[in-house]
Symmetry: C4
Subunit: 249 residues, 4 copies
């Protein structure tokens, strides 16, 4: 993971053309639209959470510490991300809106892009936080979230190029411990990615979740499916219903 130093890499030319487009699918338009949706879903309340999209050699990132439902295209950061793999020095901010800070999640987003993601979403969903707390009490800090035999599991991929999970499969989402500073999560996030090479998401205890996907649409719908499963799991737990079915139907 390269250490991004935005304050040293800003260009005199701020490359405003990179965030100006009439195409609603352009990342500079799509990130604000997604963040408005995520706000209404309760995922990015109070400036929490973030979203990043990769398009070719550019990574577009929502700013930090702002009201996520009010982001405008000209507030989007752009990071160069050359492919095939360039030396780490090639990763630098090529657009940095004045008076805004880049997201502290940036190194975590990059870890997802290094695995081939096209979009990475970070939420503070309360359902995600609740399942990390319930798992901790049941299984201790080594546990991961597991659920099976729920149709919505089919909304989550089995792994890169392996199709989607089936109804009878057990979905497993690793949980890492939170740290004082968000960027310090990077090492354990990457370790979880190595231990769970097929996962498209990592939960962060008492914090939220990182979800990624091959495209923005896939990242968003996978994030919705996971949140659905977390909400259902909390409800099931309240009614003493187990998350994993041992017999197969």
């Amino acid at each position: 993971m390269v250490d991004i130093k935005p304050e040293q890499t800003q260009e005199g030319n701020n490359n405003d053309h990179l965030v100006q487009s009439d195409d609603p699918e352009h990342p500079a338009n799509l990130i604000p639209e997604l963040c408005r949706k995520f706000y209404s879903l309760g995922w990015v309340t109070g400036t929490g959470g973030g979203t990043s999209i990769r398009r070719g050699e550019h990574i577009f990132i929502a700013p930090s510490g702002v009201q996520k439902e009010l982001i405008k295209p000209n507030e989007i950061f752009v990071l160069s991300y050359p492919t095939p793999k360039y030396p780490p020095s090639a990763r630098k901010y090529i657009r940095k809106p004045s008076a805004l800070n880049p997201s502290a999640c940036t190194p975590l987003f990059l870890a997802a892009f290094d695995r081939g993601a096209g979009c990475c979403i970070h939420t503070h969903s309360q359902w995600a936080v609740m399942v990390t707390l319930l798992v901790e009490r049941e299984k201790g800090k080594s546990g991961c979230f597991e659920i099976s035999n729920i149709e919505q599991i089919k909304g989550i991929p089995r792994g890169k190029g392996k199709g989607m999970l089936g109804f009878f499969d057990t979905l497993k989402i690793p949980i890492i411990e939170n740290t004082a500073f968000e960027e310090d999560l990077t090492e354990s996030l990457e370790k979880a990615m190595e231990e769970y090479p097929d996962t498209y998401a990592v939960l962060v205890r008492r914090h939220g979740i990182y979800v990624w996907g091959d495209t923005p649409a896939k990242a968003k719908t996978q994030c919705e499916s996971l949140d659905y499963l977390f909400q259902l799991a909390v409800q099931m737990h309240a009614h003493s219903l187990p998350w994993v079915v041992n017999e197969s139907a």
Copy 2:
């Protein structure tokens, strides 16, 4: 049930005129509008669920695997469905948007249309899933969902041409077991329709619900009434309140 093979039946002429209309009540306009509502109700999160409308000899179906709140009229599939009953070979896709897949629910929708429905809705509502789990624990896999003495029951028909259920009636919704592949639900769905000839809905364990109605408005409002009852039933169960009243007032 005819086996629909869309990839073999697509016409060179894609019949785009079938999904072009200024009438907001036209199925190609109404399905996207309904799906937007269902998304905001949490029924079709993460590409889940689906909707289909029959108008005369045509069945209009939302595509599979897409963000349901973003469907556009030109993404709607059209299936020919001649009446009076033609040989099964008459059922074929006469419009198939490129790069999209038809809904895996199609055979299940057709089972409802074969019973005279004008619209069929499939949701992954968490309340529907929760009642299937609670019923399974109480009554085992043979059980159906039952509730009585709640005003909203009057929003559900007593059966085709029989008027609406009354307040003191017991609403019964059959529950079928989920399968690995959605199309494999067809047989048990049709069996449930035979056992419960007056039902306008079938719950699918750990999956969701199929609801149909004589018109799109009736399918939608009946689906809302059922979801209201499932949500109330989960809340009642959390407070140890029984779903069925034995005495009549």
Copy 3:
């Protein structure tokens, strides 16, 4: 209570001018707007609930059995309601949209207007239904809903011309038993109004609530305050917190 027979009283002239106005506060415009809000609050799901406004000699009523979030001004019924009190025969529909049915709640709305209300709202709110169930289990069928020492109580009037309830007051809302037919609630609703002459609302067991107010704005905000209190009461009950504080602070 006069027995309204709309099928006998419809005029040849349908008085469309009574529901045509550019004023957003006109009842024919305000009822659709209120119903859209009530739908998004979950109060009138699946055609449930209703709303009526009195303006001078006219009572405007939402139709029955329709999607409440889609009502249009020309779908509003108008009933003549002369003042000062005319013989009951003076109460008749002077506008009746074809192909729509008047609300079964009409006699209940009239009971509120006879007490001087300017607007009456009927909802199927699940929180209202839940408190009627919880009260029944605790106190039997004779009980009423009571809560004290919650700030939102100050949103409910102490009685006609008596100002608002105070924080330390105990709000009491009578509960009547549901009947098979909505119009048959009228007698017990009027009886509850006599026993609780200061109430602006009556709960209906396993059904919902009727709330009225001097103006549409008051009826709506009082209905919101009550729903807030019912929701809070259900939540309090789930945490074994009592609804009424016996000591005064």
Copy 4:
């Protein structure tokens, strides 16, 4: 705290220009926009709650007793608030919409402005009310709300000019007892501000919360973060999960 007597201080000139601006960030435009959001969040249901913004020598205040989602710029009150500190007599209403009442929260808002706030928000959030009830039962009336080791805590400042709280910090929000009249809360609010000089919020038992911030954006996002924490805390309590972690990770 000066005693504001609006009825004695209204000017013949109503200073309408103070609430007329094309700038969406102008307080007279921003307060209605914020109140619409707060309504949809359930914070100001049934005329409850309020919002006030200070800009230079003027304080803009939402009216009392109105539907908060419908406020218009010309319904905003303006109070002169000269700086540096003038004699109390300098605080007077310089704009008072006819037929509207100033907010009973005004003295409480002023207490926040006297501490340097740029915006103060008052909500009746049910989550805020619930935590005051749960704290009272656990710790009695002397208790304050405490939570630690949740990422969203980082959305709350450590104190004026001290940066934000950390993940491992324990957030403490004082709770004051409610009074019959809102203005009578002022003394205990100011006392709580003295005892908790770093707090940006005070809970009111069985009533709601006052949250302030250096700017409208900060007050709003801090209010969202607190509400997120209260909602999570209620959910945690329902699952017997403690709010404060004693060990540090």
